[in-house]
Each structure stands twice: as structure tokens, then as C-alpha cells.
């Protein structure tokens, strides 16, 4: 089995009654490996959310194909396996939390996979632990803060042990602690469990630690590469985006002729460089 998600000439059009179809994605070709940490950025209406939803067959391409580990998302017989392989976390956790108790919410998906009670329990414990919710397992989700709710949404997906985790602006409701913990959790999952993370964000400092950044612009892949290269590209500004503060600092210091590593884009990298 091929461990990657592939988009082949994927086009998605939305049709509204009485008006011509609007093309949200246009002939996109992409390949995302099973162990990659990918940041996806672009203005609103650039096609990010459409692309995310294509990845697990929530929507199907109007033309072209989406393959998950070789399985076609248009093949109804594979839908269940594809949905298990590609977990989704959305912007607003309130829209995806349905159970009255935290641990029930996490157990829900595992129970639907027809696992033994002992295995369900093991996975729930693990998912709660890595999401930092072990102490809140008996609480009611509506009593949690926004950040805790989002971590719950992540835990509820992790329990299915997906190969890919797609997150559509998962931090827009989180405070700094919650954001830091979530990103750190995602990095650990990526490194230690070989879980692929595909994260959409408007905040460049959040995607800067990724190994690859994809910039969408007007429904096409406009830039695709390592963070430092993407941030420095003139096309980045043309896509209406601004590099993260640390990348701008690095550029400013380079322009002044300081001997600084041009790959520095995150706070940690800068601190390490200056304080080593």
C-alpha cells in the first residue's frame, strides 16, 4: 500500500442556483507523504477548506481524483476506511462535539469501529493523555473552555488511530497555552507515531515549524516548499500574505549584513541561534 494522499488534476466547483458554477479549486496536483507535517496557508476563499474536505471524501472533486493510500475517495466501498485513515478537526469544536461527557465523546468513534471494550478503554486513555485532558474525562464538554474543547475534538479523532490528521484552523479559538500544547502534541504525534499532520492556519508563526508549506491562491497551489524558501519568495506577498515576525526579523538582519542562518523562521530557532 502506498503511504500518501494524492490529488490528481483535482477541480472542485460549487453550483448555486441561477448563477454559473464557482471554481474553488482548479486542477490541483499534490502528493502528501504519510509522515509529513504540512502547513497550508492562503487568504479566505483561496480554496484551503475545500482542499481539506477533499482529503477524506467529505466532498468529491468535480473533475480529477483524490487517492488516499491508493484508495479513490469517489469509491463508496472505501469510504469507511478513508474516513478512518484521514481524521478531521474543524475550526469550531462546538460543531463536532455531540456527547454529554468528555470520555464518552472520545470513546464514540472507537466504539463504532467494533473494537473490544478493553481496546476502546486503552485508546481512550491514550487519546485523553496525549491531548492533556486526562483530568477532565468526567466533565461535561460544554463546561470546558474553548481551548479544552478543541483538544477534545482532536482526542476524539486520534482514538481512531488515523494515518493523517487534517486540521482546519484548529487554533482560532485557543489561547496561547492551549495553542502551544496543541502544536506540541501535533509535533509529537508526527514524530513518534508517524502521523501526517496537515494544518490550515492564518497565523504564519503556527505553520513555520512545519517541514513543508503549501500556499493556495485563487484555487491553485501557488507555492510549495520548505518554510524559509516559501516565506522569502516574492510570490508569497503576491498571494496577499505576510511572513511570520521571526522570518521578517531574519530578513531584516540579513539585509543589514549580519551573519545569520537564513533558514531561521521560528522563535525557538532564533533563540537557539543567538544564545548558543
Amino acid at each position: 500500500m502506498d503511504g500518501r494522499i494524492e490529488l490528481i488534476d483535482a477541480t472542485k466547483e460549487y453550483k448555486h442556483a441561477g448563477s454559473p458554477p464557482v471554481s474553488a479549486l482548479n486542477c490541483v496536483n499534490l502528493s502528501i507523504r504519510q509522515d509529513e507535517f504540512v502547513g497550508m496557508v492562503g487568504l479566505n476563499a483561496s480554496g484551503k477548506t475545500t482542499l481539506a474536505r477533499l482529503l477524506n471524501g467529505l466532498i468529491l472533486p468535480s473533475r480529477g481524483k483524490v487517492l488516499v493510500n491508493g484508495l479513490d475517495t469517489a469509491d463508496l466501498a472505501q469510504k469507511k476506511e478513508i474516513r478512518r485513515l484521514v481524521g478531521m478537526v474543524f475550526q469550531n469544536p462546538d460543531n463536532q462535539i455531540i456527547n454529554p461527557i468528555v470520555e464518552e465523546e472520545v470513546a464514540f468513534a472507537a466504539e463504532n469501529l467494533n473494537l473490544s471494550p478493553a481496546e476502546v478503554r486503552r485508546r481512550v486513555d491514550w487519546a485523553l493523555e496525549v491531548s492533556g485532558l486526562a483530568d477532565l474525562r468526567h466533565h461535561a464538554p460544554q463546561m470546558l473552555s474553548g481551548g479544552q474543547k478543541q483538544r477534545l475534538a482532536v482526542a476524539a479523532v486520534l482514538v481512531m488511530q488515523p494515518s493523517y490528521l487534517v486540521l482546519d484552523e484548529p487554533t482560532s479559538m485557543l489561547d496561547e497555552d492551549g495553542r502551544y500544547e496543541l502544536i506540541k502534541t501535533l509535533q509529537d504525534l508526527n514524530r513518534h507515531q508517524r502521523l501526517s499532520i496537515i494544518m490550515i492556519s492564518h497565523r504564519m508563526e503556527e505553520v513555520a515549524p512545519a517541514e513543508r508549506i503549501i500556499v493556495l491562491h485563487q484555487g491553485t497551489v501557488y507555492l510549495d516548499g520548505p518554510p524559509a524558501e516559501v516565506f522569502r519568495s516574492p510570490r508569497f506577498a503576491l498571494a496577499g500574505l505576510k511572513p511570520p515576525p521571526i522570518a521578517r526579523l531574519t530578513n531584516s538582519l540579513l539585509r543589514q549584513g549580519h551573519p545569520i542562518d537564513d533558514r531561521i523562521v521560528t522563535l525557538e530557532q532564533m533563540v537557539e541561534f543567538l544564545c548558543r
Partner: protein, 289 residues
């Protein structure tokens, strides 16, 4: 002259149940006419609870809230209060319901008793204010717009009613940078040109550093500092603020100072941060020579 005044405001959710939670603890502050007042705090600090007291959606468990001198607990003032204080919730685009952007904006105006051309004028004006082109969006269903544009429509709905106090709960959370810029511009313009009082809650400190005239810092339901920006930032340094979204260049300077690098941490802009690091690196280069 204060237009909003809270005295020892305490709010307890679900009092008397096992879920009882004290969200606000003896908060006393006053907000003057024409001010842009920023409220900073992490999730769970009581920000949203506080501002929902400003138009009487919530009333205090203890203490008082006065808006234009009138106690918000007094039910007979409610109607007047709701007209004067426009409140925009978090993720307001989720409340959009009408079949076109025009109907969405007109809904509140019709309820105010306005008619015909007055409604049309106000709709057009409000859309322009938030950076949308009325001709392009007026007949579009709000749900056919992108997330950022929906937020702009939601803000326009409130601006169209011309409140004299505008209360905004995380107005830029989760929208793209360009929509966020339009929204912040509209807010600042409203304050400047119409002398509106604006209260804005955010955990993006960046949004408030340049925009706000005064700041309040809430943590776990307590008001730990309030007043001019410098005072509040100075006071904030005494507390654990890891749970706030500080701009990265400010965080960097704090981290570098903690490592013992001789950098000045009293800076606000990225340029100032670059100048500080540049100065330190030049000194290093001199020492090596």
C-alpha cells in the same frame, strides 16, 4: 465622563449547583466616552462574561453595572440599552440567517422602525464601512460568502444600527489577515469619526497594542491591571502571561533577556526588535575583532 461603570461586579454561573463557577470577582472599572478600551485575558479569564454585562444580557450576581448612568439590572431601561450598545459575539457569522446580505442588514433596522430609503442608505453605508462593495454583495446569500466576508457582514449589521457603544468579542479570531485588517480599520474609523465608545476583547495582544487607548488585563475573573497601555504592560510582566498571544518579536525579546542577552525589552514594534538584535550582534562582531 464614564459611559460604562462597574462597581465590584461579581458574576457566578449556575449558583447553587455542583457546576457553580465564579467567572468574575469584584471587577470595578470605568470606560470613558469615545475611548477604545481593550480587554486582554486568556480563555476562561472572564472577558466574555464581563462584556455581556455591558448591554444587560447578563446582570451581576453582586455589585452594579451602570451604562450612561443607568443600572442595567433595571428592566425598564433594557430597550434603550440595546439600541445604544451594539454587541458582537464571538464568531458572529454563525448567527447570519437571511437569504441575502441586504435582508440580513435590514432586519435590525426594520425592527428599529426604519423604512425605505433610510434602510437602503444605512445598509450601503455600513457595508462600505467594513470594506465590502455593496454592489457586489448586496444580493448574495451571506452563506455564499467566504468566512472573512461573513464576519464583515456581521459587523456591518451592528454598525448599520449606529450604536453609540460598540462591544466586540474577539472580532478578528479565525479570519484571514486581509479581512482582519478591514475589520480593525472599520472599528477604529467608527471610534474616530462618530466618537463612538468601543470595547474590544481579544487574546491577540497584537491587535490591541496599537489600537487601544486603554487596556484592562483580566485573569481568572479578577481585574489585575487597567489604565494606559504602558502601565498595563508593566503590570502584566509580574504575572504569568504565557497564556496570552503576545506578538512573537516581543516574546523573543523576553526570552533573549531571560538568557542574559543585553537587549532592551521595552519595545513595541518589529523594527525596534530588529534594531536591538542588530546592536547586540554588532557588539559581538567588534569583540571578535
Amino acid at each position: 465622563m464614564p459611559v460604562i461603570e462597574t462597581k465590584e461586579l461579581t458574576h457566578i454561573y449556575l449558583a447553587g449547583t455542583p457546576y457553580e463557577k465564579k467567572a468574575l470577582n469584584q471587577v470595578s472599572l470605568s470606560i470613558n466616552k469615545g475611548e477604545l478600551f481593550g480587554i486582554i485575558g486568556a480563555n476562561g479569564s472572564g472577558k466574555s462574561t464581563l462584556i455581556q454585562h455591558f448591554n444587560g444580557l447578563l446582570t451581576p450576581s453582586c455589585g452594579t453595572v451602570r451604562v450612561y448612568g443607568k443600572d442595567t439590572a433595571n428592566r425598564s431601561c433594557r430597550n434603550e440599552l440595546w439600541k445604544k450598545v451594539g454587541l458582537m459575539f464571538q464568531f458572529p457569522e454563525q448567527q447570519l440567517f437571511a437569504s441575502t446580505v441586504f435582508d440580513e442588514l435590514a432586519f435590525g433596522l426594520k425592527n428599529m422602525g426604519l423604512e425605505g430609503w433610510e434602510i437602503e442608505n444605512r445598509v450601503e453605508e455600513a457595508l462600505l464601512q467594513v470594506g465590502l462593495n455593496p454592489k457586489e454583495v448586496i444580493k448574495v446569500p451571506p452563506l455564499g460568502l467566504s468566512g472573512g466576508a461573513r464576519r464583515q457582514v456581521a459587523l456591518a449589521c451592528i454598525l448599520a444600527m449606529r450604536p453609540t457603544i460598540l462591544v466586540l468579542d474577539e472580532p478578528t479570531a479565525g479570519v484571514d489577515p486581509s479581512a482582519s485588517e478591514h475589520i480593525l480599520k472599520a472599528i477604529k474609523k467608527m471610534q474616530r469619526e462618530q466618537q463612538a465608545t468601543v470595547v474590544m476583547v481579544s487574546h491577540y495582544v497584537n491587535d490591541l497594542i496599537f489600537l487601544a487607548d486603554k487596556l484592562a488585563f483580566l485573569k481568572e475573573g479578577r481585574l489585575l491591571s487597567y489604565g494606559d497601555k504602558k502601565t498595563v504592560f508593566r503590570d502584566m510582566a509580574q504575572w504569568d502571561v504565557n497564556d496570552l498571544i503576545l506578538p512573537e518579536h516581543l516574546k523573543l525579546m523576553h526570552r533573549l533577556a531571560a538568557y542574559g542577552l543585553p537587549v532592551n525589552t521595552e519595545i513595541l514594534t518589529l523594527e525596534e526588535a530588529a534594531a536591538e538584535i542588530s546592536r547586540v550582534m554588532e557588539e559581538w562582531a567588534r569583540c571578535e575583532r
